[in-house]
């Protein structure tokens, strides 16, 4: 394994001291209460409180959170769901699993969907608008809510990367009928496996989600709808219960790191930082900026031991898997531009100032030499 000076994954650091978590895990093991157990109930309460909704439901992944939320509001084969053109494949995967069709909207320079371009995409078949709080940046939800009300189309938020992000001080995941979160190991709040959560204020949606994640069972022997098997393991909920109290703190640290990058990177004319609107609280699941000669910079940084990444190099709408939508190159110019010019730097809470400075200096050196 390569020895990075500034590595991307911080998991070994996060889990250096795990005795506290292991104790909880071993209690679950002892109790034999592995599916839909007590720790899960506790976690769901804590999570709802953290985000600020009445309810939350633990599911098997962020993808499933999206799929089950859409199923809960009745999205089915042939329906259309409006979403962002630059998201991770899972947003669209969740839509496609239900046989619905993703309808893409281009994005702003902050990677969030352009709310001015939504209305032109609405048809009779549109059953849901799904904003993606991409990289941890909250979409302009005030505007989106107006559109949703005007056309009576519900919003389901893909907040997988946006835990604790907010718009006008209202958290992501509290605007739509449902908010979808991921607990994947690389997320700001993570567990030791795949995992996801849906938040909602709607009792009916909450009850429906609980059915959908557990085979549609109302008791052990009777099911009233055909559901799925998508439960957050009790053990993982126990891990989540230990980690959830750190989320606010680590989010603040990420914001501090990003602000430090911003201050320094804004001095480099070959870099462009997306506009930071004061209404959007960005939690920096990813720190993504634009760079001239991006591929050169990426190679240079990797050689210098900085584990940079691209989120993501090939736009979704041009992927083989979405050929059936009939899109052609150039349909979403902002998305195209981003795929070619963006670069992600490590921004996690465990980075030391020394490391941030090293990243900044390396980028400076690259442009000085080129």
């Amino acid at each position: 394994m390569k020895r990075w000076k500034v590595r991307y994954s911080y998991l070994p650091q996060q889990f250096k001291n795990i005795d506290r978590i292991l104790k909880k895990v071993s209690n679950v093991v002892k109790s034999g209460d592995f599916t839909l157990g007590r720790e899960l109930l506790t976690f769901e309460k804590k999570f709802a409180k953290l985000i600020g909704t009445k309810f939350s439901v633990g599911v098997n992944s962020g993808t499933d959170a999206i799929k089950l939320s859409l199923a809960a509001i009745g999205v089915k084969r042939g329906d259309e769901v409006i979403t962002a053109a630059n998201t991770f494949v899972a947003t669209v995967g969740g839509i496609c699993e239900l046989g619905a069709k993703p309808v893409f909207v281009d994005v702003l320079d902050n990677y969030c969907l352009d709310t001015d371009k939504i209305e032109e995409k609405i048809t009779k078949k549109t059953k849901c608008i799904m904003p993606v709080h991409f990289t941890g940046y909250a979409v302009n939800m005030t505007k989106l809510t107006l559109i949703s009300k005007k056309y009576k189309i519900p919003i389901v938020e893909d907040a997988c990367q946006g835990i604790l992000s907010s718009f006008n001080k209202k958290n992501s995941g509290t605007w739509g009928v449902a908010g979808c979160f991921s607990l994947h190991p690389l997320k700001n709040l993570n567990v030791w496996s795949d995992g996801g959560v849906v938040t909602t204020n709607d009792k009916k949606i909450y009850e429906k989600l609980k059915l959908l994640r557990n085979h549609g069972l109302i008791n052990r022997d009777e099911f009233i709808i055909t559901g799925y098997n998508s439960r957050l393991d009790t053990i993982q909920a126990a891990v989540g219960n230990c980690l959830i109290k750190d989320v606010k703190k680590l989010t603040n640290q990420r914001i501090l790191n990003a602000t430090y990058y911003d201050q320094n990177f804004s001095q480099i004319k070959q870099l462009k930082i997306p506009k930071r609107y004061k209404e959007n609280k960005n939690v920096f699941h990813l720190y993504v900026i634009y760079a001239e000669n991006r591929d050169g910079l990426l190679r240079y940084c990797l050689n210098k031991g900085i584990e940079c990444k691209i989120h993501y190099p090939k736009p979704l709408y041009l992927q083989e898997g979405l050929k059936f939508l009939g899109h052609k190159k150039g349909d979403f110019p902002n998305t195209d531009f981003q795929c070619k010019n963006i670069i992600s730097f490590p921004v996690d809470q465990y980075l030391k100032k020394k490391q941030l400075d090293y990243v900044i200096q390396t980028v400076k050196d690259f442009y000085k030499n080129s």
Binding site: F15, S26, K30, F34, V89, S193, D194, D221, Y228, R231
Partner: protein
């Protein structure tokens, strides 16, 4: 109290091993699709003599992905049984296909001789369910599948380690689907599942589909699912695997003891034929009359039992609301009123099995 399952006991025995596994995975922090998964897949392939194995997030997902890759789609028909756990049918319904039920034999498994009359132009697949850990009568089923060019997907969720004519469950059809749910004989500490197949094509498509359909981090050929077995659990199961044969032996012996101790003629116990090697995920007997009174009586005597399953799928609300036609499945319905699952877990003591059997014998003798 004689409980139906005893996960607490199992966990207690293995606590040290489990915590050690957790620690070693944490050290590497490779939580998703890690090397422990590959290790476990290898062990399972060897054990079942199957060419390929893919670990997934649940038995339900195993069925869904299997049906998906053999090409089941909207409007197709899949022949299966109504006395299974709902997951078998849900996976068919979610792909837009229609479940067609055939009745079962005395042993609760699909009656191969009732399949042909259900085949139509739309039939694409037969999905036998190896209920209770007993493999279906596969020879005639495979013959019919061949004759009509149908795919066979085995719902072997309850039958890990079971055999038919000395060949492992899940290796007869195109794909075999298993569950690793905590209540299974070979169990995880959360949801889990897997598929077995000899087809490289099916295997490669499934391992793509289980991971969003992505070819690598940045390229997606077709939209998939998220259905990955946790590395943590894989590392625990690599250790647990060593105990599997012992567990199966214990359960088989418990079944043998029941057959010896239960003497009343009011109880019918389906025989284990010489073709079968059953692993007894559940031990189901048929109570000819007064089943519900017997359950109450056993409960009073501190014996926990269960019914797998009291309401056949074709009678469930979700099915009736979706599919209008009537099903005539006399054995399935009759059995749902008679079956009773007795405790069979590997932690039972001989004297407990004797006590359960005698309690049943006495219940009927008294009358």
């Amino acid at each position: 109290m004689i409980s139906f399952v005893n996960l607490t006991k199992q966990s207690e025995e293995e606590k040290k091993d489990i915590i050690q596994s957790v620690k070693s995975v944490l050290k590497k922090s490779n939580f998703i699709l890690g090397e422990e998964n590959i290790k476990l897949e290898k062990l399972i392939k060897k054990y079942t003599k199957s060419k390929f194995c893919a670990l997934l997030n649940s038995g339900t997902d195993a069925l869904t992905l299997a049906l998906h890759v053999v090409g089941i789609k909207r409007g197709d028909e899949v022949i299966t049984v109504s006395n299974s756990f709902i997951a078998s049918v849900a996976s068919i319904v979610h792909l837009g296909a229609k479940p067609i039920f055939v009745d079962v034999k005395d042993d609760q498994n699909m009656d191969p001789y009732k399949i042909e009359s259900k085949i139509t132009k739309k039939t694409k697949c037969i999905m036998p369910v190896h209920l209770t850990g007993r493999v279906c009568d596969m020879s005639p089923i495979l013959k019919i599948a061949k004759k009509y060019n149908l795919k066979v997907i085995e719902d072997a969720a309850q039958a890990f380690g079971s055999k038919y004519q000395n060949k492992s469950a899940g290796t007869f059809g195109d794909i075999g689907c298993f569950s690793l749910h905590p209540l299974k004989n070979f169990n995880s500490l959360g949801d889990g599942g897997l598929i077995l197949t000899d087809s490289k094509k099916f295997y490669e498509r499934i391992i793509k589909l289980r991971n969003h359909g992505i070819k690598n981090r940045n390229y997606v050929d077709e939209f998939g699912y998220v259905s990955r077995f946790d590395t943590l659990m894989a590392s625990i199961l690599v250790k647990r695997f060593k105990k599997l044969n012992e567990i199966i032996k214990k359960r088989r012996n418990n079944a043998k003891l029941y057959r010896k101790f239960i003497t009343t003629h009011e109880v019918f116990i389906p025989a284990e034929t010489k073709n079968e090697f059953n692993t007894y995920h559940t031990f189901v007997v048929h109570i000819k009359k007064k089943r519900n009174q017997l359950i109450e009586h056993l409960k009073n005597k501190k014996i926990m039992t269960a019914i797998h399953y009291p309401i056949p799928i074709h009678k469930q609300k979700a099915f009736v609301n979706k599919f209008k036609e009537k099903n005539h499945l006399p054995n399935t319905v009759d059995q749902s009123n008679k079956i009773l699952s007795l405790p069979i877990n590997q932690f039972l003591k001989i004297k407990e099995i004797k006590y359960i059997s005698e309690t049943i014998n006495n219940f009927f003798q008294k009358k």
